[in-house]
Subunit: 430 residues, 2 copies
Amino acid sequence: MEQHSRTDAYTDRYAARAAGMVASEIRALFAVASRPEVVSLAGGMPYVSALPLDAVGEMVGELVARNGSEVLQYASAQGDPALRERICEVMALEGVQASADDVVVTVGAQQALDLITRIFVDPGDVVLAEAPSYVGALGTFASYQAEVVHVPLDEGGLIPSALRETLERLRREGRRVKFLYTVPTFQNPAGVTLTPARRAQVLEICARYDVLVIEDNPYGLLGFDGEPMRALRADDAERVIYLGSFSKTIASGLRVGWALAPHAVRAKLVLAAESAILCHPSFSQFAVREYLSTHPWREQIKDFRELYRERRDAMLEALEAMMPEGCTWTRPAGGFFVWLTLPEGLDAKAMAPRAIAERVAYVPGTGFYSDGSGHRHMRLSYCYPEPHRIREGVRRLAAVVEQEIRLRDTFGGVRASAPGGVDTPGPGVI
Amino acid sequence: MEQHSRTDAYTDRYAARAAGMVASEIRALFAVASRPEVVSLAGGMPYVSALPLDAVGEMVGELVARNGSEVLQYASAQGDPALRERICEVMALEGVQASADDVVVTVGAQQALDLITRIFVDPGDVVLAEAPSYVGALGTFASYQAEVVHVPLDEGGLIPSALRETLERLRREGRRVKFLYTVPTFQNPAGVTLTPARRAQVLEICARYDVLVIEDNPYGLLGFDGEPMRALRADDAERVIYLGSFSKTIASGLRVGWALAPHAVRAKLVLAAESAILCHPSFSQFAVREYLSTHPWREQIKDFRELYRERRDAMLEALEAMMPEGCTWTRPAGGFFVWLTLPEGLDAKAMAPRAIAERVAYVPGTGFYSDGSGHRHMRLSYCYPEPHRIREGVRRLAAVVEQEIRLRDTFGGVRASAPGGVDTPGPGVI
């Protein structure tokens, strides 16, 4: 082994699963995108400054002073029982009836994804995911050497007939499908929502092909119209594993998420969690528990909804007013994201450095596919920048796209970027 | 799939690695051991009540109120840069010279162990560990289907000649050894410390056989005599990956640990961390950073040392005064644990239910071996109970052992418990 070398002298020692763990070139871009002069429509960071920070600070301070010997101590790997009761109350808003005993508290829903993949996926197993799908999930699946097979979605979410055809094909091929991973509500990155009729169909198809469903639902309470959607888990407690998170409804820096799973699976998840982290930080768990017990959290979520609705409106209006012909985009009814499709012959990944030079950032679509597609797409987030910044960002983006169209028309053909490949999620692309 | 069954209807779906994730019978015992009438010498919980809780509460409250938009937000997966600088200052106390850029903040050192195993270990790879070794590490190695090969230790820590012989044998057998996992200072569970002379020998042997060293050092600053030991990492920056933790020196409920690794390995660890949890809780990281910046943490560690020294003394004196002939035990110079060996013909695992009936709990030695041995040993913790409770616990334990000796002498032979097998660490057996 060479000493003091900056090349990777450890290459021959890594496990096979580590081969896919490579930082993509897009990361370097995001380091630039965090500069204040760049309008970032890339990150999925919630706007936590809208919280009553003085009151939350006081609450947390008292918690430590009064109850520090518990708040600062190891806890059970499953998570605090009183917090798990509160979590069940939150899920009840989406029609989910659950026992606190079937909940595991995790380091964000990301850890729930990791633990579920750990207990279910052998190398080469198939995992189904929407096309496009959450970049963090694709990274986790890749790290366990799963093969991701994408199923298309449209404005109504995952397309049931495509799901059926995919499962039928995989059955013919003798492939082992471990689960369907879906973000049915205000999807990341597409911003679309699975319709109620399709929810029933998806559950029926998964039952027929005996496939588990991982329902990832971090945005479910952030809808802009009417009552929360009924969760898939509300209609099938044995087949659906539900993942939730307080990252978007309270604060992402606490890293409190959870999995609700059938009892036997929950037991395995707790053992996997112990092996992974021993136990979740009590410090965060008690903060969330106290917040849910003493603060008007439903009103706070309503405030967040209004804030994000205003930003969604700003983005949609700006896109409508400024984007060149040939661009199309989704119209989310909640959550954080708009999914934009460029005119034929443009490549969002190749265009990204030029966009950043023009002081606007987005996530190229390629990160949301495991199969190297997605070049014509990009994810635009409206959750973090203020409305005037969103408008300015879209203005800059529209100018870049116009320039690209002119280049295409002058020189012809597609200047395609290199094939995608899955990136693990940096903080910029959550 | 059967509905509403409490048996595991998911058995056929799990990954191969999940087969080993089974809760041991010892868990049920520990649920009982947490009752107040039981003196628990089982848990490895630090005595966090010794912290200035009012001051820490005030500090945390101000942190959120003043800086909530950062404290409550997603952060980089590597961890806060200023915290990583502080971590380097802490390691400098053990002679470690490191750049903050080579540190990754993890959810306790447990997560560092998990991530290291994830990037290095393929199923069937060999990992070397002391006999006995930390139960949480053995659980993690098992969950990645590593084969653990134990190397004996004595009062001076890991025995270099045994390490050499083991490596020579494995080389002859053509086995792939990924790393040596060691807790060189105030070992968990044995309470012994690797001597300075042996440190040099262990590094020299690992260099000769080209084996990485994982140095797990959560107790290094909790020595009762003189200056901290020089870390293995201080003398080999390319071969040693150092794991540290604030769980024992500040507070376990924050779950702030770290890995210091060669640059290329650190980069892989960050990618693995993103896949596992996206990022570590900022809430905890900022609390530790602020504590290290504003509180007299060196004095607080000194207070902890005095507190644990008093408890260690109470335990050693009580053992000396009360344990029946034929029992032997280690005399730790720091840390949390005494390792006790029972007379021939006694079985600490079989005895555990009887001890709990007599209101004293310990961890049977079997949990600290991957090979089913350890029946004559037990781990006794002195970190959490107050001295008078430690004395009372040892009094009860001595009575149980005496009774066992009488039974052995009356009925003869060994009433052996079932072979061990690795348990993942519940909160009771940290």
